[in-house]
Symmetry: C3
Subunit: 211 residues, 3 copies
C-alpha cells in the first residue's frame, strides 16, 4: 500500500478511536463517574475492541501499546468530554454518524488484520465484528449495564458483521484489499445510518413482548 | 492418539460447545435480547472458556478461530434456540445432563491442554476449571447478572475442579492421557449429576443467611 | 539485580497478592457467595491485574501459572477470609493500608515489566495502572457492581498511575530500576494513604451532584 494510503488509514483509525472514546466518556459522565472513570471508559471504548482482537489473534503487544498516539487520542477525547459534555449532548446525532463511520472502519480493518495472520474468512468476520463492537461492550460492562448491542435498538452489530464479511470473503476470492475494505465499510456505514433513520430492528424470539 | 480417538474428541468437543451454546442462547431469550444477542451469548458461552484458557496459556489464535466448525456449531445452536426455545424450555432437565457432560469434557480437555504447553498440575487444574466454567461466567456477565456459579446452588465448580485435578495430577504421576481423562470426566459428571439430584450445596461463610 | 533483591521482590509480590485476595474474598462474603465464590474472587482479585498485563504484553503463560506459590497464596487468603471474616471486618483500616502497599508495588512492578518487553514509558504507565487496579475491577464486575475505582471515593487510581509513571519515565531517562521503583512506590503509597486520611476526591464532571 502506498504511503498516502497508510497515512489515510492511521488518520481514519485515530478518528474512529476518538469518536468511540467520546461515546465511552459520555456514558461515564451520565453515570456520574469522576474524571478517572471518564478517562478509563474513554480508553476502554476507544481501544478495547482492537485489544480483544489482537489478544485473540496473538498479535501482542497491540499496536495501541506501541504507538503513543493511540493512547493520547482517547485521553484527549476523555478530557474534552469531561469539560464540554453539555455541548456534546446537543450534537448526539452527529456523534452517531461519526460512530457509524468508526464502526465501519474498525469492522473492515479488524477482518483484514485477522486474515493477515492467517485466519479464514469466517473467523476473520467474527474478529471484524469484535473489533467494531468490543469496545462498546466493555464500556457497558464497566458502566454496569447490559451491553447496548445485545438489546433492542436499531441494527448495529448486523451491519458490522456484514461489512466485515464483505471485506473478508472479498479478499478470500481474490479482490484487492482497498476495494474490499471500501465496499465493506460502505455497506456497514450506509446500513447503520439507514437503520437509525428508519428505526430498523433485529427480529426478537417468539413470545417476547413486541417492541 | 489414534485417529479414531481424535475424531471422538472433536465430536464430543463439538457436542459440549453445542450444549453450552444452547444454555447461553436460552439466557438471551429469557432476557428478551434480539437475534443478535442470542447469537452472541451462544458463541460466548460455547467458546468463551476455551478462549480464556488459550489466551492465558499463549496458544493463539485459539483452535476455534482456525476450524470453522467450532464457529458454526454455536451459531446453529443459537438459531435453533431462537426458533424452538419453548420446546427447549420443556426439556431443561435433559439439557442439564448434557451440560454436565460438556462440563466434564471441557474440564479434562482444558487441564490436559495446559499440561501439553508445560504448566504444572495445579495451574493446569485451574485452567481446566476456567475452560469448564469460563463460558458460563462470560454469559452471565454479558446478561447483566452475577455469575451463577458464584452463587448458591447445586455444586457446579467444585466437581469441575475435581475432574480437572484428577486428569492433571493423574498425568503428572505417569498415567496415560486416555485413562486420566476418562477418570476425571467420570468423576466430574457423576458428582455434578448427584449434586443436582440430591441438591448438594457448597458451604457458606459463617453468618450468612441459611439456604 | 542481586539475589536478595529478587527474594524481596517475590515476598512483597506475594504479600500484595495476599492482601488483594483478602479484599476480593471479603466482597464475596458480603455478597453471600459460597466457598467457591470466595475462592474465585480471591484468585481473581489477587492475580487478575497481572494476568491482564501479561496477556496484553504477550508474556504468556503469566508467571502466576508457572509458579504454584502464586496460586496457593490467594487460595490460602480466601480460606482464611472464609473462616475469619468477622475478625477481618474489624481490622479494615489495617487492610486498607496493606492494600495501598500492594497497589504501590503492583504499579511499579507492572510498569517496569512492560518496559522490559520494549514498551515506551506512556504505555508502560498504563500497564502499571492495569496491574494495580485490574484485579479489583474484575472483582467488582464478577460481584455485579460498577468497579469501585470508577466511582466517587478517595483517590485510588490517580496515585497508582502517578507511581507507575515515575517508575517508567524515571527508567526512560536513565535512572536505575531500584531507585525508580522505590520512588514510584513511595509516591503511590503516601498519596493513597493521605487521600484516605484527608478524604481527597477526584474532580467530577460539571453538572454532577456535589459529593
Amino acid at each position: 500500500m502506498a504511503p498516502e494510503h497508510s497515512l489515510t488509514l492511521v488518520v481514519t483509525d485515530l478518528v474512529g478511536i476518538f469518536v468511540f472514546a467520546v461515546t465511552g466518556a459520555l456514558v461515564a459522565v451520565r453515570k456520574e463517574l469522576d474524571v478517572f472513570g471518564v478517562l478509563v471508559l474513554a480508553l476502554t471504548t476507544g481501544l478495547g475492541g482492537g485489544f480483544i482482537r489482537d489478544v485473540l489473534i496473538g498479535v501482542t503487544p497491540p499496536a495501541a501499546l506501541q504507538d503513543s498516539r493511540y493512547l493520547l487520542v482517547p485521553v484527549v477525547a476523555g478530557i474534552l468530554t469531561f469539560w464540554f459534555h453539555p455541548a456534546l449532548g446537543r450534537i448526539e446525532k452527529a456523534i452517531n454518524v461519526f460512530d457509524a463511520a468508526g464502526l465501519a472502519l474498525f469492522a473492515v480493518a479488524g477482518a483484514l488484520k485477522a486474515m493477515d495472520v492467517g485466519l479464514g474468512p469466517l473467523p476473520a468476520t467474527v474478529m471484524g465484528l469484535v473489533t467494531g463492537v468490543g469496545g462498546g461492550m466493555l464500556r457497558d460492562l464497566l458502566a454496569g449495564r447490559v451491553p447496548a448491542i445485545l438489546q433492542r435498538g436499531e441494527l448495529y452489530a448486523i451491519p458490522t458483521a456484514a461489512g466485515a464479511a464483505v471485506a473478508a470473503f472479498g479478499r478470500e476470492v481474490g479482490f484487492g484489499s482497498l476495494l474490499v475494505a471500501t465496499a465493506g465499510a460502505a455497506l456497514c456505514f450506509v446500513w447503520r445510518i439507514l437503520a437509525m433513520w428508519r428505526h430498523w430492528h433485529a427480529p426478537m424470539p417468539r413470545g417476547s413482548a413486541s417492541v
